[in-house]
């Protein structure tokens, strides 16, 4: 790997990191897991003047569920940490289902959950999960902290609302309004492939009635898609084949994929509908079926 020349900094506190980012201006970049940034530097698509490596900052690798059920993921939690956290199966089923579908085992040992959100790749798997869960990102800059909903956090492909001197310190999943179920399905041509199409579903239920639902779509638009109408179609009543089918159709309708070597736009829309249907069907109370079915 022969990137362009860059300065390399290893701050040991968040404040120091923010100071370095501030000094470096638009030319400075945070290095977390490096699994997106380094490939781009290798290809010289990215040529940051300063790399601010946050890996030596202690205290950013926490992952915890607060007493009220809020789930917090620090900036240095790796994909593999989420994959190995078996307790998430019950509390965060959407995240648990996606964890082993993100990239490949090698990338998962380095890449970070928060870094993936900051990278804002429309094909990133975590952003869809966070959209489905109505999650947010906590950013810290010279003027302090602010919390930004994931939907608003992502401005477009590979761009977020973060200021150049802001560091995303954690991602937050709010507590559930009822009993949470969820899942993630991803069509990939091979392990480590980005999604041809991916669907994240999270629902919360009181009794059989769905009190909240979220559906996030991966890889079928120029940004992660929040399929709000599709989600709304299943809220306020128990899941039925009719509402499920309607959710599938609405999710397909709002997706905006392009035809490429992964498949035609129509095909991808069809996959979205199929996956929404499969996921929601698996969550119907009568069926005890794994939502973690690997697809490709």
């Amino acid at each position: 790997m022969y990137p362009s020349r860059f300065k390399y900094e290893t701050p040991s506190t968040v404040e120091e990191a923010i100071g370095l980012l501030h000094d470096g201006g638009a030319d400075a970049k945070i290095l977390a897991g490096g699994q997106s940034l380094i490939p781009m530097m290798k290809l010289r698509f990215a040529a940051p003047g300063t790399i601010v490596d946050i890996n030596n900052i202690p205290g950013l690798d926490y992952m915890r569920t607060e007493s009220d059920g809020t789930f917090r993921v620090g900036a240095l939690v790796r994909h593999v940490d989420l994959e190995r956290a078996t307790e998430l199966k019950d509390s965060q089923p959407t995240i648990a289902a996606a964890a082993h579908l993100v990239a490949d085992p090698i990338v998962r040992t380095r890449g970070t959950f928060v870094g993936s959100l900051c990278h804002a790749d429309p094909q990133g798997d975590w952003a869809s999960c966070m959209v489905a869960l109505d999650g947010s990102v906590v950013a810290q800059g010279p003027k302090g902290r602010r919390t930004i909903g994931v939907d608003e956090f992502v401005k477009g492909p590979f761009t977020t609302v973060l200021a150049p001197d802001e560091l995303a310190v954690e991602a937050v999943v709010p507590k559930a309004q009822g009993v949470r179920s969820g899942g993630y399905l991803k069509l990939e041509r091979r392990i480590g492939d980005f999604a041809t199409a991916g669907v994240a579903v999270a629902i919360e239920r009181n009794g059989d009635v769905v009190s909240r639902a979220g559906i996030g779509l991966t890889g079928v638009g120029s940004r992660t898609i929040n399929a709000e109408e599709a989600a709304a179609a299943v809220v306020g009543q128990p899941l039925t084949p009719d509402t499920i089918e309607r959710a599938g159709d609405l999710a397909a309708a709002i997706s905006d994929p392009r035809s490429d070597h992964r498949g035609s736009a129509d095909y991808k829309r069809h996959i979205v509908a199929t996956f929404v249907t499969r996921l929601l069907t698996s969550m119907q109370p009568t069926r005890e079926q794994s939502t973690e079915e690997r697809v490709a």
Binding site: Y2, R5, I191, S259, D260, G263, A296
Partner: protein, 792 residues
């Protein structure tokens, strides 16, 4: 006290690979590991466009960067008569583009600098102005009325056609079709695939003015051919050129051609009088170097109602990219495509082939293809399945009915090859038994009743491996034989050198096993060396599964020469006449008194200390081997799959492989070759291809787009064997290096098509990506000859 052959590492010993000792310790010595004093680094500027006129190249920016030593452009090369070079197929190829660029990734300039970072900075500082031209990305476009002329550099070239070629009997074949009850047809595209060896290409050229000697460390599968080529291209005397091919991280045919990067590093070293290292990056390798396939295949089969095949017509349209630069025997423009249908008894066949220039990287003959036998066998087995389906016959039965029988050898194939051995029906039976054919058919029916789609695919093949003989096989007139040189030291240890070049096949292990078999010298006492043209005897190199058939045979023959001399020494030591002694593994003994004998090691010592009067001392020799025929391994591959019709995703349930490659020297290595080949077969059937968008941009220039299967997806393989020794090879061995890559793909495709039987879909082009399968299933039509993908 007869030696146990397996214990001394002879034939049949699954000896651990001796080369792995250094590889697993990270002690391999690849080109990139070689560091010479004062070495500079070269990096290439490649064309971003598929077809464009070069208007201006401004290199001044590069020279402003400290540490940049030299920038070369096509113009500078042309001034030294090095703008173009001859290819291995009697064409020419640009070294650095002079007039226009003809494919994306083509070499346009290069920068030589103190380190590779600076070299890349230098490349970025070069400004090139292009005038885009209309790109041609497939054969159909190449002959469209408004197609631009790609090779306007060639004096007599007025169109984009490389060659028209035919073989077979047109009249007989027409007659067969006239008599047919049923005519079956197939129309397919075998997509472009890239061998993608783990190690990309590279070279270090070291021209020493004081000795006038040029030493080049180079990633090449054929060092001697390269020496000859460099001598001709660079006009340097051949004895002043030393090519060293050190450890290679895979080749698969990718490292046979002469690439511009090699030539540029050589010229740069001559100009700068310093060693110049060029290490290609992976993307450079994927977008610019030798690929495999990219052929449109059309076929027709004339059939009788009872299932007898009467004749075959084949037509191929092959996309060679911008230069006809791949290597195949000179006589055969479309390689050994006409080896198709060799295992079937078919009286008449005719093949027409047309090659095309396009704005894509040059190549076509790489990737375990044995000169396009991969396409031939895929064609054959897809055609055979289509025919069986059209006749409503069981696919296994249909093959059985048309196989050449065991007692029909030697057999003249429909296109004139002479096959000499095989037990085709037996291989098929072993395969059917292993997969549980009848049970699976029942299972399939039951599954269908529950709406699930199961399928079974069979592929059988025999392929011609081990070119020569030298009468028919040459590359640029150089005959395709091979050689070995064996020196037995006085303590009975030995060094063996051959003109082949291992790149993962395990020659260092298996050649020693052949010596052990012939001489009884334990394999561990034989060191094997290849790849240095100053020390190794001449050879054509390793590709097309030719090493065991040709160089391996030379190892046998040279060992036998050593044995013949040793026999004379033994007679002298035992004080009997030569006629009175017999040989058992590792030892000569007096026939009438078997206890009296001398070992091969004792003979070796005597060769240096006690030779009979009049005999030259020493115990070394060489052998050049020109094979009387190709070797004809056979295989039967069977795969079962399940297709998910809602997503188009298919999963492999089981894969059974039955390989007959004659006598197995090292069964473990043979199995490794088969598993690797099946993995590649699965890859090509499932995901792995290089395609181009409408503008000629390569989709597949990195590993996010060019999908190689990992251990995660790759199915397990169940291996079985049948042994039919090769009648003419000294130890009865046949080639095995490519069989599974060649024969495997059709098994997977046939299985998916079988699962879709009843939908009306007869063909889906590889790779059978989920979207293609879904499209075929929902729209009930073939997905054939798929046009380049859109990327908007």
């Amino acid at each position: 006290m007869t030696l146990d052959e397996v214990k001394i590492g002879g034939l049949g010993a699954s000896r651990r690979r001796v080369e792995d000792n250094r590889f697993i310790r990270g002690k391999g010595n690849y080109v990139d590991d070689v560091v010479l004093p004062g070495m500079l680094h070269m990096e290439i500027v490649r064309s971003p466009l598929a077809h464009a006129r070069i208007k201006k190249i401004d290199i001044s920016g590069a020279y402003k960067i400290p540490g940049v030593r030299l920038v070369m452009t096509g113009e500078m090369m042309a001034a030294r008569n090095l703008g173009w070079m001859p290819t291995l197929s009697y064409d020419t190829q640009a070294i650095l583009a002079t007039d226009k660029v003809r494919f994306q990734g083509q070499e346009v300039a290069c920068v030589i600098a103190d380190d590779p970072y600076i070299a890349r900075d230098g490349c970025e500082a070069i400004v090139i102005e292009y005038e885009p031209l209309q790109p041609v990305v497939n054969p159909m476009q190449a002959v469209a009325p408004d197609a631009p002329l790609i090779r306007d550099d060639k004096v007599n070239q007025t169109d984009n056609i490389v060659f028209d070629w035919e073989v077979g009997d047109v009249i007989g074949t027409d007659q067969a079709f006239a008599e047919a009850d049923v005519v079956s047809e197939i129309d397919m595209h075998y997509p472009r695939s890239h061998p993608s060896p783990i190690e990309a290409c590279g070279s270090i050229a070291d021209y020493d003015r004081s000795t006038s000697k040029l030493t080049v460390y180079m990633t090449t599968q054929a060092p001697h051919i390269i020496r000859a080529a460099v001598s001709l291209v660079a006009e340097l005397p051949e004895h002043m050129i030393r090519i060293i091919s050190p450890d290679l991280g895979g080749g698969f045919g990718n490292k046979v051609p002469v690439y511009p990067g090699y030539v540029m590093s050589i010229l740069a070293s001559i100009l700068l009088e310093q060693p110049v290292k060029w290490i290609e990056d992976k993307s450079g390798n994927l977008i610019s170097t030798g690929f495999g396939r990219d052929v449109y295949l059309k076929g027709q089969m004339a059939l009788r109602n009872d299932g007898k095949i009467l004749g075959v017509r084949m037509h191929t349209d092959s996309d060679h990219g911008a230069f006809f630069a791949d290597a195949q025997p000179s006589k055969f423009k479309i390689g050994l495509m006409h080896s198709a249908f060799a295992c079937y008894d078919i009286p008449n066949a005719h093949l027409t082939a047309r090659g095309y220039y396009t704005n894509k990287a040059p190549g076509g003959v790489a990737y375990r293809c044995s000169f396009r036998v991969t396409e031939a066998m895929f064609f054959q087995e897809r055609m055979v399945q289509a025919a069986a389906d059209d006749l409503g016959m069981d696919q296994a039965e249909f093959r059985r009915k048309n196989f050449v029988r065991d007692d029909d050898f030697p057999h003249r194939t429909p296109f004139g090859f002479l096959t000499d051995s095989g037990q085709y029906e037996k291989c098929l039976d072993v395969g059917l038994e292993a997969i549980g054919y009848d049970d699976f058919l029942k299972q399939k029916e039951e599954a269908a009743a529950r709406g699930r789609l199961l399928g079974i695919g069979i592929s059988t093949m025999t392929e011609p491996l081990g070119a020569g003989n030298s009468r028919e096989y040459d590359i640029l007139g150089i005959k395709m034989f091979d050689s070995a040189e064996l020196r037995v030291h006085m303590t009975g240890k030995a060094i063996l050198r051959t003109g082949a070049k291992t790149q993962g096949q395990g020659h260092e292990t298996t050649w020693a096993q052949i010596v052990a078999h012939e001489l009884g010298i334990p394999a561990e006492d034989v060191v094997v060396e290849e790849g240095d043209t100053d020390t190794a005897p001449f050879g054509m190199g390793t590709y097309a599964s030719r090493s065991t058939p040709v160089a391996g045979a030379a190892v046998s023959m040279v060992s036998r020469k050593i044995r013949a001399k040793s026999r004379k020494i033994a007679a002298h030591l035992l004080e009997v006449s030569e006629e009175d002694i017999d040989w058992e593994l590792g030892r000569f003994y007096v026939r009438s008194a078997p206890d009296r004998g001398v070992t091969i090691q004792e003979c070796a010592m005597a060769a240096y200390s006690n030779v009979p009067d009049g005999m030259e001392p020493g115990l070394e020799n060489n052998a050049y081997y020109d094979p009387p025929n190709l070797t004809w391994p056979f295989a039967c591959y069977i795969a079962t799959v399940e297709v998910d019709p809602l997503t188009g995703v298919w999963d492999v349930l089981r894969v059974v492989a039955v390989d007959d490659c004659g006598v197995r020297i090292n069964p473990m290595i043979v199995e490794g070759q088969i598993m690797g080949g099946l993995t590649e077969a699965y890859a090509m059937a499932n995901m792995q291809f290089i395609t181009f968008d409408a503008d000629g941009n390569c989709v597949g220039g990195n590993y996010m787009d060019y999908l190689l299967p990992t251990a995660w997806e790759t199915p397990g393989f169940e291996l079985h064997e049948v042994v039919t020794p090769c009648p003419h090879h000294p130890i009865g061995a046949k080639g095995i290096g490519e069989c599974a890559t060649v024969g495997g793909p059709a098994a997977f495709v046939n299985a998916v098509i079988d699962a879709l039987k009843g939908t009306g879909v007869r063909n889906i082009d590889m790779p059978l990506l989920p979207d293609r399968v879904y499209e075929a299933v929902t729209q009930h039509h073939d997905v054939s000859g798929a046009p380049p993908v859109k990327t908007d």
